[in-house]
C-alpha cells in the first residue's frame, strides 16, 4: 500500500482495451517499481497478453493512461518501446534454429560489418553479470529450451532495458530449469530494472516475486505484496467464478437432483458394477521429451461425477487427447467399462461407449463450416447412409428432434454450425456424445468455457442427468466453484500429476485451491 518514496517506473491508470464488442481489459490501475519483480497472474483469456501488448506498443489503449519513468507512455510500436527501454520475451521464441546464438542476436542489432567476436564477448559479459552461462557460438537448434530462453533474455538485456516483460516464461520450461530462470529474474531486478512475470502458475514464481496482481476477465481483481499474500486467496481470485446466481442455481439443482435421485433410485438407476472409466498410470511425454502427464491413475464408477481440478496447462489437454483416442500415451493403460482403449482409435473409444466433449470445441469437436445436423451426427453418419448415399432428409429430421431435446437453438438443422452461439454449439456437441449407445463414460473438458449462465446450467443439467442414468463422468475444469457444485469428489492435477483428492464441498475450497497452486505437496 504505502509504496516506497520513489515514483513507480511504470504506472497504469484506468487502462482499458476494447476489441469490437469484446472488452478485453477494463480499468486496470497498477504501479510497477524499479528493482522489483512484479507478477501478473491470470488464466488464459484473462487479459494478460492484452495488457502486455498495450505496454509494449502492439495496441493502443482505448481508455486510461500509462506513465513510464517521468513521461506519459503511449508507444506507437514495439520498436519504439524497445527504443525507450521496454523489452519483452515472448512465449514463442523468435530465434532462427540453424544459426548460432551470436548470429541470432546480431539480427536486427548489428549494422554494417558484423563483429562476431565483439558481440560474443558482450553476450558472455551479460551472462556473467546475471549469473548464467551461454555459449555464443552454439547453434540455437541444438540448445535446450532453457538455453534458448536465456538467449532471448540476453537479446533483451543487450538493449539495456529499464523494464523486462516475460510472457509465460515457465510454461515451456522443464521443472529443473525454472529455478535458474527465477534467479536470473532476481538479478535483473537487483540491477535496478523492473521485471514483469506473466504466468498462471503462482507457486512457481512465488519465491521470486515482490508483488502480484491478479487479472480475471479483463479486470484487476486482486493486488498483493508477496510477503503478506495468502496464496489460496490469490488462486481463488484467479479462477473463481463471480456470478453469484449461478452458484446458487447449481447448488440448488444439485440438491434437488439428489433428492429426486433418492426417491427414484431403488428401481430406475441401473448401477453397473465395476468402473466406467479407469486410467492406470498414464504418462505423456511431448516431442521435446518433457513430461506432460505423469503416472495419472484415476477410477470413475458408474453414476459418479469426478471433477478434475487444476489450473490450465497442467496436463489437462494431454489427458483429454489420450482419453479421446487422439494421442497414444507413452505409458499406462486406459479402459472404458471392460474395454481397453490404451492405443485405440477415436472410433473405438466411441464404440466402447466413451462420450467425449473436447476442451477445444472448434478444433476437435465440430466442423464449423458444415451444418448443425451434419455435426450432431458426425460420428453416426452410417446410420443415415443407404447404398452409400446420405439420406439427408432423415438426417435433418433426426437432428431436429435432437435439437429440441437438447435445447439447441438454431434456425434449422441445415444451417451452418458456425452460425450458432457457443452455448448452442456446446449443447449440440453434448447431445451428440450423450446419445451414444452404449454410453458408459463421459469425459467433458472445460465444457462451460465461454458459455453464458443459462447455457452453463443446461450443460450441467445434462451431465447430471447422464450420471443418474449410470454414466461415469470425468469433468475436467479449471472453474473450481462449478466443480464443487456439480461433482461428487474432486481430484487435483498439478504439473501432470494427481496431487490429491477432496470431497466436493464448499469447505474444501481452500484446500483444493492450495493443491491447485502447488502448495503443500
Amino acid at each position: 500500500m504505502a509504496q516506497s518514496a520513489s515514483p513507480p517506473l511504470l504506472a497504469l491508470d484506468g487502462l482499458g482495451k476494447r476489441f469490437g464488442s469484446l472488452q478485453a481489459l477494463e480499468g486496470v490501475t497498477l504501479d510497477v517499481q524499479a528493482g522489483t519483480v512484479h507478477c501478473l497472474l491470470g488464466e488464459n483469456g484473462a487479459g494478460k497478453s492484452t495488457l502486455c501488448n498495450l505496454i509494449f506498443g502492439v495496441y493502443a489503449p482505448s481508455a486510461g493512461q500509462m506513465r513510464f519513468g517521468e513521461r506519459p507512455w503511449l508507444p506507437s510500436s514495439p520498436a519504439e518501446a524497445l527504443e525507450q527501454g521496454i523489452a519483452m520475451v515472448h512465449q514463442h521464441f523468435s530465434l532462427v534454429p540453424r544459426m548460432t546464438v551470436v548470429e541470432n542476436l546480431m539480427l536486427g542489432q548489428a549494422k554494417g560489418i558484423l563483429k562476431r567476436r565483439e558481440f560474443g564477448d558482450r553476450i558472455r559479459d551479460i551472462a556473467d553479470r546475471f549469473g548464467f552461462v551461454l555459449d555464443p557460438d552454439a547453434v540455437v537448434g541444438e540448445l535446450s529450451v532453457g538455453e534458448r530462453q536465456r538467449s532471448e533474455i540476453v537479446k533483451c538485456l543487450m538493449r539495456d532495458p529499464k523494464l523486462l516483460v516475460l510472457d509465460e516464461p515457465t510454461a515451456v520450461l522443464p521443472p529443473g530449469e525454472i529455478g535458474a530462470l527465477l534467479d536470473i529474474c532476481r538479478r535483473v531486478a537487483d540491477s535496478g530494472r523492473a521485471v514483469i512475470l506473466v504466468t498462471h502458475k503462482l507457486a512457481e514464481i512465488a519465491k521470486v516475486a515482490d508483488s502480484v496482481a491478479v487479472l480475471r476477465t479483463g479486470r484487476l481483481v486482486a493486488k498483493a505484496d508477496m510477503k503478506t499474500a495468502d496464496m489460496g486467496a490469490l488462486v481463488h481470485a484467479m479462477v473463481g467464478r463471480e456470478v453469484k446466481p449461478l452458484d446458487v442455481a447449481l447448488s440448488d439443482s444439485k440438491e434437488a437432483d439428489s433428492k429426486e435421485g433418492d426417491s427414484t433410485d431403488a428401481g430406475a438407476a441401473p448401477v453397473r458394477p465395476g468402473f466406467a472409466l479407469v486410467c492406470d498410470g498414464l504418462c505423456v511425454q511431448d516431442r521435446h521429451g518433457a513430461t506432460r502427464l505423469d503416472n495419472f491413475t484415476l477410477e470413475v464408477r458408474p453414476g459418479e461425477i469426478v471433477g478434475l481440478a487444476g489450473v490450465e496447462g497442467n496436463g489437462q489437454s494431454e489427458l483429454g487427447m489420450v482419453l479421446a483416442g487422439l494421442l497414444a500415451p507413452t505409458e499406462g493403460r486406459y479402459f472404458i467399462g471392460e474395454t481397453e482403449l490404451t492405443h485405440a482409435s477415436a472410433a473405438a473409444v466411441t464404440a466402447a461407449g466413451g462420450g467425449i466433449v473436447p476442451e477445444d470445441r472448434h478444433a476437435v469437436a465440430c466442423v464449423t463450416a458444415m451444418s448443425v445436423a451434419e455435426n450432431m451426427y458426425l460420428n453416426k453418419l452410417d446410420r443415415f447412409t443407404r447404398f452409400g448415399l446420405l439420406q439427408r432428409r432423415a438426417l435433418n429430421e433426426a437432428a431436429a428432434v435432437q435439437m429440441k431435446e437438447f435445447d439447441v437453438r438454431a434456425a434449422g438443422p441445415d444451417v451452418a454450425f458456425s452460425g450458432l452461439s457457443g452455448g448452442n454449439q456446446q449443447k449440440a456437441v453434448l447431445g451428440r456424445e450423450l446419445t451414444l449407445d452404449p454410453l458408459v463414460a463421459l469425459i467433458a473438458a472445460q465444457p462451460t468455457r465461454g458459455l453464458d449462465v443459462s447455457a452453463v446450467e443446461a450443460v450441467y443439467r445434462q451431465i447430471r442427468a447422464a450420471a443418474r442414468r449410470g454414466v461415469g463422468v470425468l469433468l475436467i475444469s479449471s472453474e473450481l466453484d462449478e466443480l464443487i457444485a456439480v461433482a461428487d469428489r474432486i481430484a487435483v492435477l498439478y504439473r501432470g500429476r494427481l496431487v490429491g483428492e477432496r470431497p466436493a464441498e464448499m469447505g474444501e475450497r481452500g484446500a483444493i485451491g492450495a493443491l491447485m497452486s502447488g502448495q503443500g505437496i
Partner: protein
C-alpha cells in the same frame, strides 16, 4: 456461377455475368493485338483458329476428345480437393495409365477377348495404374507427412521418364527394331482394343470416351453432393482433427481420395491411348495433366464447372494448334494468349465472388 449470380439484384447480376464475358473478350483482343504486333495477319489467324477448333468434323471431334481428357483430370482434381488435397500429378498419372493400357492391349491374349473385354481390360489397367500412382502420394502423406503437391508433382516426372524408358527399350514396349530408322515408339495397339467411334463419319475421331466421361461426371457430382463418402471427404478437408475424433478413418480417406484422383488420370491416359493415339510414344500426355489441373482449379469444385472449363480449353487448344500450323503464329505466342485468357477467367471468378460476398 450462374446459380450464384441469380441471388443478386439485377444490376449486380448483370455486372457479375458480364465480367467473365468481358474478361475473355478483352484478353482475346489483347491476344489479337499481340499477333498483329508480331507481324502475322490477324484475319488469317482468326480463320485458322476457328477452323482448327470447329471447322471440320475432324477438328470438332478432336476438340471434344481433348475436352474429355481435361474433364477427367479436372474431376479427379475436385474430388481430392474436397479433402483439401491438391493433386498436381495428373500428367504423370496419365503417363502410367497410358503405359499400363498399352502393355495390356499389346499382350496377345487380350486382343481376342469377347464382350468388349479387349477394350475394357486395358482401360481398367490404366485406371488401376493411375490409382496406384496417386495412392503412393497418399501413403507418403499419411505416413511421412510429405506434402502431396510436391510428391504428386515429382512422381509425375518419374512417370514421364518411365514412358521414355518404355519406348526406348525393346525389352519393354518399343516396337521391334528392324532398321536404324525405327522410331522409339510402341507397336500400334490391335483394332479390337480401340475405343469405338461415336459417329459414322470416318473423318471424326469422336469416340465413346465422351459417354464414359459424362457418366463419370454425373457419378462425381453424386459422390460429392449426395454421398456419405463425399461428406466425410469434406469433413476431413475442413477439420481433420474433428473428423478423426468423430471416428472417421482419416488416413484411409486421404489415401483413397488421392487414389481416386490418380485413377481419373490413369483412365485419361488409357482413353487417350485407346481412343486416338493408338501407340505409346514419349511425351504422349502433352500437357493435358497440367491443363486439366487448371480446369479443376477454375471450376471451384463444381462438376459442371469442370465440364464447361474443359470444353472451353479443348477448343482453345485445338484452335491454338491450328493457328500455329496454318497462320504461322509462334507457339509461344498462342500459349501467352491462352495464359491471358486463364488469368482473365480466374480473375473474374474471384471478382464475381467478391461481389457476392459484399451482398451478404
Amino acid at each position: 456461377m450462374t446459380a450464384l449470380a441469380l441471388q443478386m439484384p439485377d444490376r449486380r447480376r448483370l455486372l457479375a455475368m458480364s465480367i467473365p464475358f468481358l474478361a475473355v473478350v478483352g484478353s482475346m483482343v489483347i491476344g489479337l493485338l499481340l499477333i498483329a504486333a508480331s507481324g502475322k495477319s490477324v484475319p488469317d489467324s482468326i480463320e485458322a483458329f476457328l477452323d482448327g477448333a470447329f471447322g471440320t468434323a475432324f477438328a470438332f471431334g478432336a476438340s471434344i476428345n481433348r475436352a474429355v481428357s481435361l474433364s477427367l483430370i479436372g474431376l479427379g482434381f475436385i474430388l481430392a480437393a474436397r479433402a483439401n488435397l491438391t493433386n498436381v500429378g495428373g500428367e504423370g498419372q496419365i503417363a502410367v495409365g497410358g503405359i499400363a493400357a498399352t502393355a495390356l492391349a499389346l499382350w496377345p491374349p487380350i486382343a481376342g477377348l469377347p464382350l468388349g473385354l479387349a477394350v475394357i481390360l486395358p482401360l481398367l489397367a490404366g485406371t488401376l495404374a493411375g490409382a496406384f500412382w496417386g495412392g503412393i502420394a497418399g501413403v507418403m502423406k499419411v505416413r511421412f507427412g510429405t506434402n502431396e503437391v510436391i510428391s504428386t508433382l515429382l512422381l509425375g516426372f518419374v512417370a514421364l521418364l518411365m514412358v521414355y524408358w518404355c519406348v526406348q527399350s525393346t525389352a519393354l514396349l518399343r516396337q521391334p527394331q528392324t532398321s536404324s530408322s525405327t522410331l522409339p515408339e510402341s507397336l500400334p495397339i490391335p483394332d479390337s482394343t480401340k475405343l469405338a467411334g461415336l459417329t459414322d463419319d470416318p473423318e471424326s475421331p469422336l469416340h465413346i470416351g465422351l459417354i464414359l466421361c459424362l457418366v463419370l461426371a454425373l457419378a462425381t457430382a453424386i459422390v460429392l453432393q449426395r454421398s456419405t463418402f463425399g461428406l466425410r471427404l469434406r469433413a476431413i478437408g475442413l477439420n481433420e482433427l474433428a473428423a478423426r475424433r468423430a471416428g472417421m478413418p482419416g488416413s484411409i480417406l486421404l489415401v483413397v481420395a488421392l487414389g481416386i484422383a490418380g485413377a481419373f488420370g490413369g483412365l485419361t491416359g488409357a482413353i487417350m491411348l485407346q481412343g486416338e493415339q493408338f501407340y505409346l510414344k514419349a511425351g504422349f500426355s502433352s500437357g493435358y495433366g497440367f491443363d486439366g489441373l487448371v480446369v479443376g482449379l477454375l471450376s471451384r469444385g463444381s462438376t459442371l464447372g469442370v465440364l464447361a472449363g474443359a470444353l472451353f480449353f479443348g477448343f482453345l487448344r485445338s484452335g491454338g494448334i491450328s493457328m500455329e500450323i496454318m497462320a504461322g503464329v509462334p507457339s509461344a505466342l498462342t500459349l501467352v494468349i491462352q495464359g491471358l485468357i486463364v488469368i482473365a477467367v480466374a480473375g473474374s471468378v474471384i471478382l464475381v465472388e467478391k461481389l457476392q460476398g459484399g451482398q451478404r
